[in-house]
């Protein structure tokens, strides 16, 4: 029995994998379920504006709308590009000044 247990703990069962995958997926799908329909369009337009100044793409920006009892929060998250692009960014900024 102990030998059997040893093998069991070494390899997660396929049911355990299924559960984990589902928990992640379902949580993600639930959070996007309550999104207003304008959110994708808003994201697209924001991206276009930001693109003028930063070297960003679809994956580096996330827009989400959180809701609790009292207020709604529009959260905008942009991952800044790596160093090479920072130079660009900095120069843009200096030029801006």
């Amino acid at each position: 029995m102990s030998l059997l247990d040893y093998f069991k703990t070494n390899k997660p069962s396929s049911a355990a994998i299924a559960k984990e995958r589902l928990q992640i997926l379902v949580a993600h799908e639930r959070s996007s379920r309550n999104q207003p329909s304008y959110l994708p369009q808003l994201k697209k337009e924001l991206l276009e504006v930001i693109k003028k100044y930063f070297d960003v793409n679809e994956e580096t920006i996330s827009v989400s709308l959180e809701q609790d009892d009292e207020r709604e929060t529009l959260e905008l998250n942009i991952t800044l590009p790596d160093e090479d692009h920072f130079k660009n960014l900095n120069s843009t900024k200096t030029r801006g000044k």
Partner: protein, 270 residues
């Protein structure tokens, strides 16, 4: 006023029609006047599962389009006088169903019946939408398998936002989980999601577990709802489900693997 129950799942092939037929028969056998409606326009099968396929003359779409009366289309079950079937049309497409028409038919049925079971088609298109739209209760039929659980969750989102109750801001649809095709042996081996796993993900009130059973195919082969096979595990599971829905306190069964002794292992082993 009738209670309207939708049997739904999102995913196909999980046992919606089997469940609709069994639950409708179970309620009728307990003396409740029940009608079960097939919403799968173009792909009707409820008539076949209930063994009344040769008695279909008029259907749901005919009634909606005033081509027949409701009484002409309703088929009374030969085994239980309290059970009626309203078959789907086989020749029309899903657009033949209208919200106004379905609402009108359900309202008329509500005057005569205690329970109206809406057997939803798979998917989230028009037929499935209208099957759940007017519901008071929803039976979510789920298999312990990733795609079925995901689709069930998607369906829950739709029930919570697109139903009449949601649109009118009324008390939400009561949702119940019905876990079917369950195999306790495979759960024990870690090959299948357990009841607890599925409950943890969907967090629904568990109405019952229907074990994977040969009796389901036997029942559909012969057009007898499986609940009438009182010897079978699946039949008993459905009887429990109906009893629990009606408020009886029945402990859950068919969740744990049967313990086999050495004798059983030697002589009954699969």
């Amino acid at each position: 006023m009738a209670r309207i129950i939708v049997v739904t799942s999102g995913k196909g092939g999980v046992g919606k029609t089997t469940t609709s037929a069994a639950v409708a028969m179970g309620l009728a056998k307990k003396g409740h006047k029940t009608v079960v409606i097939d919403f799968d326009v173009g792909l009707r099968n409820l008539d076949l599962i209930l063994g009344c396929e040769r008695r279909v003359v008029y259907d749901f779409v005919n009634v909606i389009h005033n081509e027949s009366t409701l009484n002409q289309a309703l088929i009374r079950d030969k085994r239980c006088g309290e059970l009626y079937i309203l078959p789907a049309s086989q020749t029309r497409d899903k657009d033949a169903l209208t919200e106004e028409g379905v609402g009108r038919v359900l309202e008329e049925l509500s005057k005569d019946f205690e329970y109206i079971i809406c057997d939803s088609p798979a998917g989230i298109e028009r037929g499935a939408h209208l099957a759940m739209y007017f519901a008071d209760d929803a039976f979510i039929v789920t298999n312990p398998e990733v795609s079925s659980v995901r689709d069930s969750d998607r369906m829950l989102g739709i029930l919570a936002s697109k139903s009449r109750r949601a649109e009118k801001g009324e008390e939400p649809i009561k949702e119940f989980l019905l876990l079917s095709r369950y195999s306790p042996e495979r759960v024990k081996l870690g090959e299948m999601l357990s009841v607890d796993d599925v409950q943890e993900i969907l967090s629904l009130h568990l109405l019952g577990v229907v074990p994977e059973s040969k009796s389901v195919l036997n029942a559909s082969n012969s057009g007898i709802p499986v609940i009438l096979d009182e010897q079978s595990d699946a039949g008993q599971a459905y009887s429990d489900i109906v009893a629990r829905y009606l408020g009886e306190d029945k402990p859950h069964r068919f969740i744990d693997a049967e313990k086999k002794g050495l004798f059983g292992k030697l002589f009954r082993g699969k």
